[in-house]
Structures are given as C-alpha cells and as structure tokens.
C-alpha cells in the first residue's frame, strides 16, 4: 500500500454565523469570525489517496490527473468565492473548516478512479490551524 498526496490551494471569504442565534450569541461564540462583512483565508488543501502502484506505469495515480479532478470538483467551486454565499455544497451548513473538509471529501470521492481509495483530506485555514478527515466511521 502506498499513499500519495496532492497539494492544492484556494482563496476564499467566509464567516462563522449561525442564523438561528442572535447577533449577540454569534459574537459571543464566534468572536471576530462572525464579522458581518466576512473575512478570508488562503486555504491549503492536501488530498491523500492510497492503493497499489500499477506495475506498468509505477503510478498509484497520475498526479496530474488527480490535480485536474481536485480542481474540477473542488477548487474551481471554492477559489475566489464566498463560502457562505457562492458554494452549492455548503448551503445550509456552517462554513467551518471541519464542515468544509467533510464536504470536500463527499465532492471528490465519487470521481476518483476505482483502483485508488481516498485516505485523507487535510485543510489548512491558516498556517497555524488545520483539520483532517479520514471518511465516515
């Protein structure tokens, strides 16, 4: 079993705001992250897949093709967007990095080739804060 990771990035605006709470409660829980007019981040995304290398190519997956899939199904939907307003798969969800990493998994997994498994989605919100998701269960 070999693990291969592809790094991608996107820049986006968001805010943390629960519409079923008052403004005061949002401020109390989310602090400056609840700022009305958004703020933003340079997100760094690491997609790790696993499997056995193909004996003919030596590749687990062509890393260029993996990049194209990640860009097509994830990055193009998020880059230079407002996560709360512009992203179909985040509608009705809190735009935390925790929820984002789960939805990125769900967006990407159906499009991966059959011979590889998705192992981990790792997402840096800042150079000092990141989340990881290894799938359900």
């Amino acid at each position: 079993m070999v693990y291969l990771t592809r790094a991608e990035h996107f820049n986006a605006a968001h805010k943390l705001y629960n519409p079923s709470w008052s403004k005061e409660k949002n401020d109390e829980v989310f602090g400056k992250c609840a700022n009305d007019n958004w703020h933003g981040h340079n997100y760094e995304l690491f997609v790790t897949v696993k499997g056995e290398p193909d004996p003919n190519t030596g590749f687990l997956v062509d890393a260029k093709n993996l990049s194209i899939l990640i860009n097509q199904h994830v990055v193009d939907k998020l880059d230079h967007k407002n996560l709360n307003l512009d992203v179909d798969f985040m509608q009705g969800k809190m735009c935390s990095s925790e929820n984002l990493v789960i939805e990125i998994w769900n967006q990407l997994r159906p499009h991966l080739p059959d011979n590889i498994q998705l192992h981990c989605i790792k997402l840096y919100e800042t150079p000092r804060i990141y989340v990881e998701y290894f799938g359900g269960n």
């Binding site: 990035h9 820049n11 981040h41």
Partner: protein, 138 residues
C-alpha cells in the same frame, strides 16, 4: 559610527476583499481583475514582515525592542484589518482598491509616525505564499 542592522517582526491578519474599480463597468472589471472582482468577495491570510534599520543602541544593544514593534503593528494595523472586509469595513480602502500594492503603502503610512525618524522602515506584505510586495523600494 556603528554599523546599521535591520531587525524584522512578522505579524499577520486574515481579511476579505475584492478588486474593483467603481469608475469601470462590471465587464471591464471582470476583464482586468478576473475572479478577484467577483461580487461576494474572497479572502487571504496576509503575512507582514516589518523591517526597521538603524544603529543598535549602545546601552540596550537593540535597534528597536521587537515586543514594542509588535505592539505598534498590532495596534495600528492588525486591529484595523484582521477579520475585516477591506473594502467595506476600513476607512483606508473606502476609495482605494485594496491591491497588495496599495495595502503595503497604507501599512507603511500607518506605521511610519510610530517609528523614530532616524530608522529606515520597509514593509513586505504576502497576500499568498507566492504573491508578495515591498514598500518603499530600497
């Protein structure tokens, strides 16, 4: 005369912005600024490197106390811009396009009054890990 030394302090802020010239229509903005002109904003982790150059003080050995420099940067820059929308929430960019170039000049002007005039001041601003600007030009 003692040798000059440059000292640096790094600080950061996270902000939303968009690039848009109000004097142009949407299609021209889209043509020039591309996805940076999208209406609902996007954002960055901005990283600043503030460089102060001068002769170390004979008694302290410091050019400037870096804790003091950090306090000045946080008070004059980070508090204004962190977790804000640069276009909507700041006085500085009400009528100024918040490009990295314009932001770095604004940061310099905000900090210069608090740094003794005998010192040179230079700011490097990273908009992304791959895009960065400097002011003034040395």
């Amino acid at each position: 005369m003692a040798d000059k030394v440059s000292v640096f302090r790094k600080e950061h802020f996270n902000a939303a912005h968009r690039l848009y010239n109000d004097a142009w229509d949407y299609s021209k903005n889209e043509k020039v600024f591309g996805k940076c002109a999208l209406p609902n904003y996007h954002g960055h982790n901005y990283e600043m490197e503030v460089k102060v150059t001068g002769e170390p003080d004979k008694e302290t050995g410091y050019v400037i106390d870096l804790k003091l420099l950090s306090d000045i940067i946080r008070q004059e820059v980070v508090q204004k811009f962190d977790h804000k929308n640069l276009n909507l929430d700041t006085e500085e960019f009400k009528d100024l396009n918040p490009t990295a170039e314009n932001i770095v000049v604004v940061i310099y002007k905000l900090l210069r009054p608090y740094i003794e005039s005998k010192f040179d001041l230079q700011i490097r601003l990273y908009e992304t890990p791959r895009n960065f600007v400097e002011y003034p030009v040395s």
